[in-house]
């Protein structure tokens, strides 16, 4: 018996969904819940295209349930608020990131680390109240107020959307692992959605920033446009050798399978390599460099709501947004193909509101 996505919940919704591991998206009629007392409904204006969306569409990680409506870099306008909602009003510009619910009682939730809650509900592709969550490649979304972010008034909505995932995903580990001491040397491995924002945060924290990339043709842009101080081509042994033991910490944003050994070699004593990219194969971790240099490899998974708001406010203060290419929803499949080849500077953002003709 076919489930009716259109009728399982009371409000009609429309978006684009992937329906199989080809990852191809197509129009999809579904439904959303009514706006409850604690909820905020937002009309979606823009949604960033995160590489996680692509991984999920193709079921690279093995836990996709189709049909899946991706999108967790959502910026929208409040159209309705519940009776208990005091911090938002209709017309506010707000954001929704990677999660829409957590248990609120575990140690992680108590410490504003909802992103590590074992009962976390993701903005898309999570089981939720008998149905599933559907993300921001759609016309509107209803979210518990706790998971809605105030969007800084001075930031453009389209270029700010990627901050909701890319932004927090690099900001949180940079704070947690102490990568904020002015004058220290930060390496950013991988120059994509995450990497280019990491450069901007790095410069805002007063760090010297070196980009580590396989693509020499990204060098002049990294330095002239994004503000990096230097650039190393990671498959050039001489450049890598010259930089041995010179970097305090590295944010590794690379989602392709890659070796961490050369990156560990770039680190100083006590250096930290923090991985935020999610390659599908395990990392091959050589232990000797960790032991011989008291180095560390750590992970980090986006950020809690409080920290996400802090990050957005920081971006508002320092005028930090993503470098984006705006697309319409019907260009999404081409965008995904280009994303898989890293052919974007540096985030696609879907102009959702102008993509869907009013019904």
């Amino acid at each position: 018996m076919a489930k009716s996505y259109e009728t399982e919940l009371p409000l009609k919704a429309f978006g684009w969904a992937g329906t199989d591991t080809s990852g191809t998206l197509s129009p999809f009629n579904f439904s959303r819940r009514e706006n409850g007392d604690d909820d905020v409904t937002l009309k979606i204006l823009f949604c960033g295209v995160c590489h996680s969306d692509l991984h999920t569409l193709k079921n690279d990680w093995g836990f996709t349930t189709y049909p899946v409506v991706p999108g967790h870099e959502i910026v929208g306008e409040v159209t309705k608020i519940g009776n208990n909602v005091k911090n938002f009003k209709v017309g506010d510009k707000v954001g929704v990131g990677v999660m829409v619910e957590s248990c609120q009682t575990c140690e992680n939730c108590q410490q504003d680390l909802e992103n590590y809650c074992p009962k976390l509900v993701f903005t898309y592709n999570s089981p939720y109240n008998g149905t599933r969550t559907y993300g921001g490649y759609s016309d509107f979304v209803v979210v518990h107020q706790r998971y809605v972010l105030q969007f800084p008034a001075n930031l453009p909505l389209d270029a700010g959307a990627p901050l909701l995932c890319a932004g927090i995903t690099v900001y949180s580990p940079m704070k947690y692992y102490g990568m904020t001491e002015p004058g220290k040397h930060l390496g950013v491995a991988g120059l994509g959605g995450l990497g280019h924002v990491a450069i901007k945060f790095g410069k805002a924290f007063g760090l010297k920033v070196t980009v580590i990339s396989t693509s020499p043709n990204k060098k002049s842009e990294a330095i002239d446009k994004l503000g990096a101080d230097s650039f190393i081509v990671s498959n050039d042994p001489e450049q890598m050798k010259a930089a041995t033991g010179t970097i305090d910490y590295i944010i590794d944003t690379i989602s392709a399978d890659h070796s961490v050994l050369p990156l560990l070699g770039l680190l100083k004593l006590n250096g930290k390599l923090v991985t935020v990219g999610l390659p599908s194969k395990p990392l091959e971790l050589p232990v000797f460099p960790l032991v011989a240099g008291r180095k560390l490899i750590g992970g980090s998974n986006f950020g809690g709501i409080k920290e996400t708001q802090e990050m957005l406010d920081f971006c508002g203060k320092h005028n930090i947004t993503a470098d984006i290419e705006l697309i319409k929803m019907d260009q999404i499949n081409t965008a995904m193909e280009r994303l898989s080849k890293a052919d974007v500077k540096y985030r696609f953002v879907i102009d959702v509101a102008n993509s869907f003709s009013s019904l």
């Binding site: 680390l113 999610l278 050589p286 998974n301």
Partner: protein, 361 residues
């Protein structure tokens, strides 16, 4: 005819050395330098057998220089001090660990982290600044710069102090550095050998709740009753491992054989730490999710600086933290190495150099 090792320095010395990659040790005549103005000369009374010695005598790391006199857990009594030595006098009870010199000018040396100095001089099998090769503690005497000599408190016997100079500091340093020395933490120790059993003892002395994680069920009784661990889990038992998932603040992994880090990372709490002190030869697989999902870290640590080694020895003396040792005569050393290879020792061999190492005629 005297060989080059016998002639290169003025003072006769005698020890046991490996000659080739078979790793078999046999009597060896060599020489030690004159006691320089900053040097401390001491007669060796005990020397611990570290698993590194076994790796080195067989050239498993590819950098062994033969003839090779191992031993970097050396304890003895001062016989002579140089004219500018201020820290020691004749008769003092002293020890030497894994290093005998460093550059003294780099950032690591300035930070009391000589163990991470890029120009570190190891106690054995490396070229010293004078071009000669260093020979370790499976010998009757040593001459060492006073800044790399450790004082052994009276509360510790020399045979108990010896293994602390490598095994002890190797686990003490990361427990401190990674903040795993706070009372009440739940710590795991993987591998119950020389390093592992010291990790249990130091962790208990720091007030931790300690679980030993091992492949050998037959080590359980001893771990709980003798070493003082609070609990014991067999890593192959899925049910036992499942029950402990996400419950450890930190895990010290002393296993140098290839093994999977994935189940260990699952045991670690969110924001918890897995610290490697054993160094498996080939890279280990770490799925990105294992560390991203819970903001976990994998790190490593290598011995400790001199200042911290002294601090560790003083702590051990004060809190009664001592290794479990099996004292052997020097001519048992090859058998001991074979047994060590099979992990058949509780938990460190210590060679009674003073009573059993005699120069052959």
């Amino acid at each position: 005819m005297a060989s080059q090792p016998e002639e290169e320095h003025p003072k006769k010395a005698f020890g046991w050395a490996a000659r080739d990659t078979s790793g078999v040790l046999s009597p060896f005549k060599f020489s030690r330098r004159e006691t320089g103005e900053k040097d401390v000369a001491f007669k060796v009374l005990y020397c611990g057998i570290c698993h590194s010695d076994l790796h080195m005598v067989k050239n498993e790391w590819g950098n062994s220089i033969y003839p090779l006199v191992p031993g970097h857990e050396v304890a003895g009594e001062v016989t002579e001090v140089g004219s500018k030595v201020t820290k020691f006098k004749v008769g003092d009870r002293v020890g030497v660990g894994c290093m005998v010199n460093s550059c003294k000018s780099c950032q690591s040396c300035s930070d009391d982290l000589e163990n991470y100095c890029p120009k570190i001089i190891l106690t054995y099998s490396v070229k010293n600044v004078d071009g000669t090769i260093t020979y370790g503690g499976y010998s009757d005497s040593m001459v060492c710069d006073e800044n790399f000599v450790i004082r052994i408190p009276d509360a510790l016997s020399l045979e108990a102090a010896a293994p602390l100079l490598c095994a002890g500091i190797t686990v003490y340093s990361p427990l401190k550095y990674f903040g795993l020395d706070k009372p009440g933490l739940h710590l795991g120790v993987v591998g119950l050998g020389g390093l592992g059993h010291m990790a249990v003892k130091f962790a208990k002395a720091f007030g931790a709740n300690v679980t030993v994680i091992s492949t050998s069920p037959n080590k359980k009784k001893e771990a709980l009753e003798h070493l003082g661990a609070d609990s014991f889990v067999v890593s192959r038992e899925q049910d036992q491992m499942q029950a402990l998932m996400g419950t450890f603040d930190g895990i010290i992994d002393s296993v140098s054989a290839q093994h999977s880090l994935v189940p260990l990372l699952a045991l670690v709490k969110n924001h918890g730490k897995l610290v490697m002190v054993g160094a498996p030869e080939k890279p280990l697989e770490v799925p990105a999710f294992s560390i991203i999902g819970g903001r976990k870290t994998v790190s490593g640590s290598m011995i400790g600086g001199i200042k911290e080694t002294q601090e560790m020895i003083d702590f051990a003396a004060k809190h009664g933290v001592k290794p479990d040792i099996e004292i052997i005569a020097v001519d048992y050393v090859n058998t001991a190495m074979e047994r060590l290879l099979k992990a058949d020792v509780k938990y460190r061999f210590v060679i009674d150099i003073g009573n059993t190492l005699k120069a052959s005629s």
